[in-house]
């Protein structure tokens, strides 16, 4: 060749010059995104938290010591019990053993309440991988193995306290994680499909198509959502099981919730349409579908991922607040919102603050983790920005 590539290396991007020829040179978009994301410490922690929450949701039956509907009338509003490591038996001496103390219950007839005092003589031995209440795991396997619980299945232990029917809050919280963390995803998935489809068409073709879709978006986003939810909740047949009711409602609400996503996708397509590499693809003879799916969408998938991550906490909050208001999920389904609904009265707050405290913490943890993760993803989404 007459012209060997003798360009000076200093001409290269200084940030990459040192790395050219090494891993960076052959790194694909996702590797670059992952590297950039890895530098975002808070987001990485948030990612672990979210994975942890979903693991809890997936293995809820195994992790929870009890089922959601195991009631003990004796133990209404029992406060959280502590865990001890060293047992001092009444006959002197000591030994190692995970344990809690059982409660002595006194009933105050006038105030209509029970008071609980731990009795050091009633040692309840605890253990890992204990046999307890039987359950059916993922509708497939029958088991009675629990990660943690009293070694004697007849004993009751309330690590996070109990509610008005003597149900274990810890178990209910673990089961609620499954419902609350997954139900938002369904709504987001529906919004996502609609948003990407309409947003990309609107942004790619522009002109009249764009005008029509944008006007539709404006009309849809002008609808007040809360009254609509309440109306829909009232219109749904009473005979339906509660989960189906909720899925219906969330589906209808996400039919209204796709608009912001569609706008964002449209904006991205608008700016991408003018990029030279898209014109180049057109001049390569690529069809419109190929341009959209092979050249344009990959450029914004990481942005979409970030948008979705930021949309999930909104759905979680929506579920929580609607269930709290009594128009979302209803018992016997357990979600964080349903748990909070139990904490709605003054008596619960004054006598059993754990009813309010633990579900709220769970909601905050999940929402914050999703927001941090979304922020981190959004910053890492475009690794080709300087």
């Amino acid at each position: 060749m007459q012209t060997p590539p003798t360009e000076d290396p200093h001409e290269m991007d200084p940030h990459l010059a040192g790395a050219a020829g090494s891993a960076t040179a052959v790194a694909s978009q996702w590797q670059l995104v992952a590297w950039r994301f890895g530098r975002h410490k808070l987001a990485v922690i948030a990612l672990y938290v979210i994975v942890f929450l979903y693991l809890i949701g997936i293995f809820a039956e195994f992790l929870a010591p009890y089922a959601t509907d195991t009631t003990r009338a004796k133990y209404t509003y029992a406060p959280p019990q502590g865990i001890g490591l060293i047992v001092h038996p009444p006959d002197g001496g000591w030994y190692f053993g995970l344990h809690s103390f059982g409660y002595d219950i006194t009933v105050d007839e006038a105030a209509m309440r029970r008071s609980f005092t731990p009795n050091p003589d009633k040692v309840i031995p605890l253990g890992f991988f204990v046999h307890g209440e039987p359950y059916r795991f993922w509708y497939m396997f029958d088991s009675d193995l629990h990660l943690f619980g009293p070694t004697n299945p007849k004993d009751m232990v309330y690590l996070l306290g109990s509610d008005r029917l003597g149900r274990d809050i810890l178990s209910r919280l673990i089961h609620a994680t499954r419902i609350s963390m997954s139900i938002g995803l369904v709504g987001v998935a529906i919004s996502l499909c609609l948003g990407i489809f309409l947003g990309s068409i609107s942004g790619f073709y522009g002109g009249r198509v764009d005008t029509i879709i944008q006007r539709v978006i404006e009309i849809v986003s002008a609808m007040p959502t809360i009254p609509l939810w309440m109306g829909l909740a009232a219109a749904i047949p009473l005979g339906w099981p509660p989960t189906r009711v909720y899925f219906t409602v969330i589906a209808i609400v996400s039919l209204l919730g796709w608009t912001s996503l569609a706008r964002e996708v449209r904006g991205r397509f608008f700016s991408l349409r003018g990029e030279d590499f898209v014109t180049a693809a057109r001049l390569d003879g690529a069809s419109e579908m190929r341009i959209i799916f092979r050249h344009m969408l990959p450029s914004i998938t990481s942005h979409i991922l970030a948008m979705v991550t930021l949309a999930v906490p909104a759905m979680i909050i929506a579920e929580t607040s609607l269930s709290f208001l009594g128009i979302g999920l209803k018992p016997p389904v357990v979600s964080w919102g349903v748990l909070l609904q139990d904490a709605q009265n003054l008596r619960a707050i004054s006598n059993a603050p754990w009813l309010l405290l633990f579900p709220s913490l769970a909601v905050m943890l999940a929402v914050l983790a999703f927001n941090f993760l979304g922020d981190g993803l959004r910053d890492a989404a475009d690794p080709y920005d300087a």
């Binding site: 060749m1 007459q2 590539p5 003798t6 001409e11 290269m12 990459l16 790194a27 057109r282 390569d284």
Partner: protein
């Protein structure tokens, strides 16, 4: 001119470092120079050489992660290098004793304030003038920088001014504090060549009249030769050669400067290949463009009636492209040359005219009459090379995917055949086939442009349309890419339409040239004739405004100004 024995500003062993993810980058490394009263120092270098960072360091304007790590900037009895970045000391110097002109006048001026208020602000801040006094002084300054009708223009906004006028406003602001030192960072790079000549004239005149010291930062050896008294050549953060302008240009010592000057001078004449091998006089016409036109935004109301006139970006353009020749299209920004390139492939849909393509085999076709499928056939024969090698390659695809894309779409090759075809193409444009798994971010600008050329050649085209294909590249890389194109053109008997604002590039590369202005071709003819003895007054003005990279033959003094015909006076 008598030399004042003390320099206004001297830089000693200045080092500026940037803390990066992996290690530190010394953008400026042990740089020393002096600015003398009444003299201009030209600081030249290619992109990434650290010249702009040097200029910013003089005003303590280097932003983190950058840092002045050692050295002195002696100005009067003060050392600017020691001043804190946000202190009051440096703020008293900025804009008052040292003025700065930036490259991009649109982004350096505020769009929401009138130009007057931006000049007045500096005056009131540094000279503590009264409101009325500052306004009067601002009008005076605007008159000084030759802005017409300053009494009225002072209350206008930036967007009402053309690029050249905006740069004049920037100069007025830089002069407002009556500085001893003027730093001009690529002051004319964003401007058209005729405007550049006007602005350079103005800067030079003001600097002489006021006896200021000036630091002129530029990548353009021509501008340096025309304006500077002394030159310092920067390369990878270091000054490799410095001295009076004549000495640097004519008794060059450093190999880098020699190489730089050689590649600049190379583009001052036609390529050697052209002289040895003149194009056959009777070549066949491969592309015939007649009365091509594009009107943007000719609106119609809801009933289809025409409501607005629209902008005529291209009008009445006719030319023939011969087989194996390269036709240059030159013009200033807004002349419609880029639109013309895109009209031919209907990337932008033309509104008038015909484009007739005659392949060596088969029927002539009118590109304007084709449907989508027919147009895809044309896309295989006529290919496009883009201006910006950064945005024209999809950063999410590897080089193999980018070059293989047209082959795959058109069903020419796939699997192992695709890989071997792509490595052939990479070799053809002078790149290692082993690089094909890399992504575009691992390549330099010149290498990316080679990838773009390989993609264009993948389909064995007959015609190549290169839209400013070399203007984003440094001068040394530019001539390499042009040589590559020349070589490929000869080997593959390609016809090339080469669109450029750069007369030098066109003269080097093209057989024939068409000069465009306001959407029309004003002159078309043999490249050498157009570049040496043009006939149209606009072409004359255009050619004479190009700075010549030799301080012994300054060209701008004999510049011809093109006076707009009174009938279509363009607003300033």
């Amino acid at each position: 001119m008598t030399l004042d024995p003390t320099p206004t500003l001297s830089v000693r062993n200045l080092t500026v470092q940037f803390a990066l993810r992996h290690g530190t980058l010394s953008a400026v490394n042990d740089v020393s120079f002096d600015l003398w009263p009444g003299r201009t120092l030209g600081l030249v270098g290619e992109s990434g050489s650290g010249k702009s960072v040097t200029a910013r360091a003089l005003m303590q304007l280097v932003d983190p992660p950058g840092n002045i790590t050692s050295g002195q900037i002696l100005f009067g009895d003060a050392d600017i290098a020691k001043m804190p970045r946000r202190g009051s000391e440096i703020r008293r110097i900025r804009g008052a004793q040292i003025g700065m002109i930036f490259q991009e006048p649109m982004s350096s001026l505020s769009p929401v304030h009138t130009v007057g208020s931006q000049i007045v602000e500096v005056l009131r801040l540094h000279l503590k003038l009264s409101r009325e006094g500052a306004r009067a002084r601002a009008i005076e300054l605007m008159r000084l920088v030759e802005i017409p009708d300053p009494e009225n223009n002072i209350d206008r906004y930036t967007f009402e001014f053309s690029g050249g006028m905006r740069q004049r406003v920037m100069i007025a602001i830089a002069l407002a504090g009556d500085p001893d030192v003027l730093i001009a960072d690529e002051p004319t790079t964003a401007l058209d060549v005729t405007t550049q000549a006007e602005v350079l004239d103005l800067i030079k005149r003001i600097q002489r009249e006021r006896g200021m010291s000036m630091l002129l930062i530029t990548h353009d050896m021509g501008v340096v030769a025309e304006i500077a008294d002394d030159v310092a050549v920067m390369y990878r953060g270091k000054i490799v050669e410095a001295g009076p302008v004549d000495q640097v240009f004519h008794q060059t010592t450093h190999p880098y400067t020699q190489k730089l000057l050689a590649s600049v001078l190379k583009l001052e004449r036609a390529a050697d290949q052209k002289k040895q091998d003149p194009r056959p006089p009777t070549a066949r016409v491969i592309l015939k463009v007649r009365q091509l036109g594009k009107t943007f935004g000719a609106g119609s109301d809801a009933y289809g009636a025409r409501t607005t006139q629209g902008v005529r970006a291209v009008q009445n353009v006719s030319f023939d492209l011969l087989e194996g020749e390269s036709l240059g299209i030159v013009g200033e920004s807004g002349s419609g040359k880029t639109t013309l390139g895109r009209l031919i492939l209907r990337v932008i849909e033309p509104t008038d005219g015909t484009i007739e393509y005659s392949p060596d085999t088969g029927q002539s076709v009118d590109i304007r009459a084709l449907n989508k499928a027919g147009l895809r056939g044309i896309y295989r024969q006529i290919r496009f090379v883009f201006q910006d090698p950064f945005s024209s390659l999809n950063p999410r695809m590897s080089v193999r995917q980018i070059i293989g894309e047209p082959l795959q779409i058109n069903g020419i090759a796939s699997g192992q055949g695709l890989v071997s075809k792509v490595s052939d193409l990479l070799e053809m444009v002078g790149l290692e086939p082993a690089m094909m798994e890399r992504y575009p971010h691992a390549f330099s600008g010149g290498q990316r442009q080679r990838i773009g050329i390989a993609r264009a050649l993948a389909l064995d085209p007959r015609i190549l349309i290169a839209d400013e294909a070399t203007s984003a590249l440094d001068v040394s890389v530019r001539s390499q890419i042009l040589d590559l194109l020349l070589d490929l053109q000869k080997r593959l008997t390609l016809s090339v339409i080469f669109i450029s604002h750069d007369i030098g590039v066109v003269r080097y590369f093209c057989d024939r040239v068409a000069v465009m202005r306001h959407g029309e071709i004003v002159e078309i003819g043999d490249a050498q004739t157009i570049c040496t003895s043009p006939t149209h007054p606009y072409t004359k003005a255009l050619i004479s405004a190009v700075p010549y990279p030799d301080p012994r033959t300054p060209r701008m003094n004999q510049r011809i100004r093109f006076i707009e015909p009174q009938t279509q006076k363009a607003p300033q």
